[in-house]
């Protein structure tokens, strides 16, 4: 199947006073049309940076190299105006932090309808109606009232659903959802997951789902990519990666999840400014040998899965 999005040799570096932060390094990732790809990994490993790189929404101190091909055209070579036309309409973002991602001085309804008016060319009143309907379909209680309120009057879960509505307003082909279930209680989480599932299945939309929740990932994703310190260390079909993890980091990540006994990986993730030589995971890896500290393993494809470990 043709890849809707093909990321090749992507490298995103932040130039800071303390040094160069390698937030994404040598990322190769194809997302086929209609598929949901999950992106998992510890906090700070570069998941959001990868997502924002695709939309070119990073601050000015970020440098992006490589290729991000969307429907055959390289996003990194588009002009400012061309990338703006893709945003919201072709590729949408459901941002990570609901508490800070909504404009505090605008009514939530305004923030949804402006996207609806822009992308679906709806008139004002139609847009408001459509916004209410969308929120209703996301199981937001009392949507007529909520669209007339300001973000600070809503709970985190409500804001999350407002953000989801903004993201879906342009009927995008590709959705980058950055932890859309964060901060939701179990019942709401299931509802939001169902909504996302419904949307991707019904509209055939493709999704890059960034999440910490392995259960959500298992339920929604066709494929899973595991990120560690700016690199993809394992990528394959969801049941393979979650059922038979091959990279020691993935094993550790699975063992540390609440459903599997909460065994944390020893040590902590490295600074992205001073990365260890060789395999970036070797200082924390139980299986590490001498060679792991010297040789940086490539991402090897085997039986339809990719692993970045010298032992595979």
């Amino acid at each position: 199947m043709a890849a809707l999005l093909s990321i090749q040799k992507l490298r995103t570096i932040f130039y800071t006073e303390k040094g160069r932060v390698k937030a994404a390094d040598d990322i190769n990732l194809d997302i086929a049309e209609g598929k949901t790809v999950g992106l998992i990994g510890e906090t700070g490993c570069g998941k959001s940076v990868l997502g924002l790189s695709i939309l070119r929404l990073l601050p000015r101190n970020a440098g992006i190299e490589g290729k991000i091909c969307y429907k055959g055209q390289d996003i990194l070579r588009l002009s400012g105006e061309q990338i703006r036309r893709l945003r919201g309409k072709e590729i949408a973002l459901i941002p990570q932090s609901p508490s800070t991602s909504l404009n505090p001085v605008l009514k939530t309804g305004v923030q949804i309808t402006e996207a609806l008016q822009l992308h679906q060319k709806l008139a004002r009143e139609e847009a408001w109606k459509a916004a209410v309907e969308m929120l209703q379909s996301f199981n937001l209680p009392d949507p007529e009232r909520r669209v007339k309120e300001y973000p600070h009057q809503l709970s985190g879960g409500m804001k999350q659903r407002i953000l989801a509505a903004i993201g879906m307003a342009g009927k995008p082909s590709l959705i980058i959802a950055d932890e859309p279930t964060k901060g939701l209680d179990a019942i709401i989480r299931i509802q939001v997951v169902e909504v996302l599932h419904h949307l991707t299945k019904k509209t055939g939309a493709t999704m890059l789902l960034i999440t910490h929740d392995l259960k959500v990932a298992a339920g929604l994703c066709d494929e899973i990519a595991v990120m560690y310190a700016g690199e993809i260390v394992e990528h394959g079909p969801a049941e393979e990666v979650l059922g038979h993890p091959r990279h020691p980091y993935t094993m550790g990540l699975l063992a540390s999840s609440p459903n599997n006994g909460l065994k944390p990986i020893r040590g902590c993730s490295p600074s992205l400014i001073n990365l260890p030589a060789g395999c970036k995971f070797h200082p924390r890896c139980g299986k590490a040998r001498e060679i792991c500290a010297k040789k940086h393993p490539p991402l090897v494809t085997k039986n339809g899965s990719q692993v970045r470990c010298i032992f595979h």
Binding site: L55, R84, G88, K89, A92, T100, S101, P104, E114
Partner: protein, 314 residues
């Protein structure tokens, strides 16, 4: 909302009381015998005996303790009687009322000048951070903040009146007369507002909700006008209110330099003449204006920031 305004009114009375009480005591602590000064001002220097002075002291009630004098002034003022100028004998209210339009004109002109320059320049500097425009305007603002009013006023007079002959040196009249005093008075505020607008705008542009707005595909213009400006203005509005106090303070110096016949100059003149009634009147009017402007600022603040609106309603 009404409750909030009522609370502000009470606060206003407290502020006005405090300010007038302070000036009253400071004026009485200042060196020089007020009775003598009045006597000189009213009757001329030569034929002045100690008896004359004592007579005036009694007549004007200056022999009573300061707090008694203040209480007396207060009780009269509360009833709408602001007294008469000790020098000219004219009612204080009339004297101030007569001068007030000039000060109002000057203050508004200064504020217009500074806001119309400062806000756009601040926004452009933020949008073009580290560009030539940004460096120039920030350097200008730094100079503007540091420059004292009296010095700037004299420089402007030298350049534009004496050398270029573009504007009159001083005096009150048409549009040409107001240019230099308004520039002098407005520069400090313009400098501060420019810097604040810039930093506030830069801060807002870094926020996550701006990324959300970008991700929607909105044009850069819409992001600025619909999403950034209102947020960026919240701190700016507060500072404009506070700066207005400095602006009033500035009228005292600027009106004196440019011989602008406003309340500021009236205040300076009455201080030199130890005209207590008039001093108190001027200070009172300044205090009231300051508090009213800050009330207006608070109201606009409520309009800008829905969080505050919500808290005030409930």
């Amino acid at each position: 909302m009404l409750k909030c305004i009522a609370r502000r009114l009470v606060l206003m009375i407290v502020v006005v009381l405090g300010v007038t009480m302070m000036t009253f005591s400071i004026m009485h602590l200042a060196p020089g015998d007020p009775a003598e000064m009045i006597a000189i001002a009213k009757y001329g220097m030569e034929d002045l005996t100690q008896e004359d002075i004592e007579r005036i002291r009694k007549a004007e009630g200056l022999d009573a303790p300061v707090y008694v004098q203040y209480a007396k002034w207060l009780s009269h003022t509360a009833r709408g009687d602001f007294g008469r100028s000790l020098i000219t004998g004219e009612p204080v209210l009339e004297e101030i009322w007569y001068r007030f339009p000039a000060t109002l004109k000057l203050a508004l002109a200064a504020m217009m000048v500074s806001l119309f320059i400062a806000v756009p320049v601040g926004i452009i500097s933020a949008l073009r951070q580290y560009s030539l425009i940004d460096y120039l305007s920030m350097t200008g603002a730094l100079i503007g903040v540091c420059m004292p009013n009296f010095w700037l006023g004299l420089l402007l007079i030298l350049l534009f009146s004496v050398y270029l002959g573009l504007f009159p040196v001083c005096g009150y009249g048409g549009l040409r007369h107001i240019v230099l005093p308004a520039l002098t008075l407005g520069t400090g505020m313009a400098a501060i507002v420019t810097r604040l607008t810039r930093s506030s705008m830069l801060e807002v542009l870094k926020q996550d909700y701006i990324t959300t707005a970008r991700a929607k595909g909105l044009s850069e213009k819409k992001i600025i006008t619909d999403h950034a400006l209102k947020n960026a203005f919240i701190p700016v509005i507060t500072v404009i209110g506070l700066q207005f106090g400095h602006l009033l303070e500035g009228t005292v110096i600027v009106e004196t330099i440019f011989a602008w016949p406003g309340v500021g100059k009236l205040l300076v003149d009455s201080i030199f003449a130890r005209d207590f009634a008039l001093i108190q009147g001027c200070v009172l009017i300044f205090a009231v204006i300051f508090v009213i402007v800050n009330l207006l600022v608070d109201i606009s603040y409520v309009y800008l920031d829905p969080k505050i609106r919500y808290e005030k309603e409930h």
